[in-house]
Amino acid sequence: MDDIVTEDLSKSYPSGWPGRPPFVALDGLSLTVRRGEIFGFLGPNGAGKTTTLKILLGLVRATSGRALLLGQPAGDVATRRRIGFLPESPYFYDYLTAEEFLGFYGQLAGLSRAVTTERANNLIQLVGLGEARTRQLRKFSKGMLQRIGLAQALIHDPELVILDEPMTGLDPVGRKQVRDLILSLRDQGKTVFFSTHILHDVEMICDRIGIVMKGRLVANGRIDELVRQNHIRSVEIVCQHVKTEGNALIHSLATRVLQQGQQCLIVLPSPDAVDALVAEIRRQGGRLLSVTPHKASLEDLFFHEAAQAVSHVSAHMTGGRAS
């Protein structure tokens, strides 16, 4: 069962000037988020993450394509009872106290006053704002606002939680708290879809990710699969009693050779050359100590896709000028 499905979703905004092409914020985005998983939606600023989230929540209308949440069209009013949302850099009614704030959102979600009060009390404790419960939000720090924002997203016990940059503005302790909270939501069987550009957090908690660049989904899947299929960055081989100086074969295979006494470190650009190098080590009677493949990290993948997106746009612009 998929909780979020988008098919060829596009959004463009008119330029406001005749003859000038519209600004394309999303360009045929198709992705699925499965029930009970944590899905990280990655992309640099301006890539289309927030636009996607806004379309899913019915805040913005898609120019074309289709989006379903919990099996219903995006923007369906009744379905929103089952969805929790935290916007990026949340701005709330700062004249409300934390208790009044959660009470307001609980009642908007259709909860009774008694249920709202009970859930608000639990959530205030959960996000660590017990001492600030009667304080007006205008006196909250940025991190406290982020945490009370998370509490409002969860006040009605939603099945699907959508978070836009939930770690922004938090210190390391706050970030860990939010990570733990997201993991506990998954343990409760909830689906979490969150956008971010903090790659470290994504690597730690996400089941699957999607990377969006310039409005297009350029990668989608499990992190280990995406990283494995795209890049093994290099292989490091450590050996002993191998003569590398003047060895044309080793130097032709390796990108880097470091001889330290009897021990030698050889860096290969890809796993393809490992067999040939190991054969050479054996031929010389050397001893193989270790073979360490260095897989590309999510950060490498992210920058690789970002560079491709930039070159794609540059090529397009150059082509446009030439024509």
């Binding site: 805040l59 913005v60 935290l86 959102y105 009642q107 908007l108 979600a109």
Partner: protein, 254 residues
């Protein structure tokens, strides 16, 4: 409580915690107090001057609150992005608009009640008879303020705060002038002028219909039929604008 009620109560709570409204009501109190000083300076008709100025103060402050709070009612939610979390809840956009409108209407009702109480107290202190006509004038003022709020809300659903303020103020001024303009061009020979004024007369709210302050100040009561008709007219006009605001807001991207 339904979603409209939740939004309305929150809008009311917001205004209660906004110090500007208190200042405006205080200002109204000062204006009413000033009317006593001016009445002392006038040679005759002390009663009329106090009643006139008191009603004018209530009307002025009511219209200012309706206009400027009404304009920011929706725009502030969009500019401060508080709308995102509200619209992510299971409430329709029309319910949001109606909730905000009724919240402000409740605020205005409370504000006008406070101003009326100060006004009546002033009249009582100066032994001025409290006529029924004064209550009638305040009733129609409240209807006028409901219309002005609906105008401000309507414009704020699709334009910026500045433009909304200009349009609302413009419509308010025209709304008080159309009847006079129509009378002026009735005898002229230019067809275009007549058509334009007729168009304005029927499109713009006839706010002068809701203004009986002059006769109320001298104790002349309006007929009950007139009160009913004028009130219905104002409420219907506000209802049409509110429907328009809901329709526009349905189609808006945030």
């Amino acid at each position: 409580m339904g979603a409209i009620g939740v939004i309305a109560v929150n809008a009311f709570r917001e205004s209660l915690r906004d110090k500007i409204l208190y200042n405006l009501v205080l200002f109204a109190g000062l204006l009413i107090g000033l009317s006593v000083l001016l009445a002392d300076l006038s040679i005759t008709e002390h009663h009329k001057v106090i009643a006139d100025m008191g009603l004018a103060a209530i009307n002025l402050i009511g219209v200012i609150i309706a206009m400027f709070v009404g304009i920011s009612l929706v725009n502030k939610e969009i500019e401060r992005r508080t709308i995102y979390t509200i619209m992510a809840r299971p409430i329709s956009r029309s319910f949001f608009i109606m909730g905000k409108y009724f919240g402000l209407a409740l605020t205005l009702l409370v504000n006008m009640s406070v101003m009326l109480a100060v006004f009546l107290l002033t009249l009582w202190l100066y032994h001025i008879p409290i006529e029924q006509s004064l209550f009638q004038a305040v009733q129609l003022m409240f209807v006028e303020i409901l219309v002005v709020t609906a105008i401000a809300l309507f414009f704020s659903t699709f334009t910026s705060s500045t433009l909304s303020a200009i349009f609302t103020l413009g419509l308010y001024v025209i709304g008080h002038l159309t009847a006079d303009l129509r009378a002026m061009v009735a005898n002229s020979e230019g067809m275009i002028g007549k058509v334009v004024v007729d168009l304005l007369y029927y499109l713009c709210p006839n706010l002068e219909m809701l203004n009986i302050k002059g006769q109320a100040a001298v104790g002349v009561a309006a007929a009950p039929e007139y009160m009913l008709l004028a009130s219905l007219y104002g409420l219907l006009y506000a209802g049409v604008l509110l429907t328009g605001a809901c329709l526009v807001f349905q189609r808006r991207d945030f």
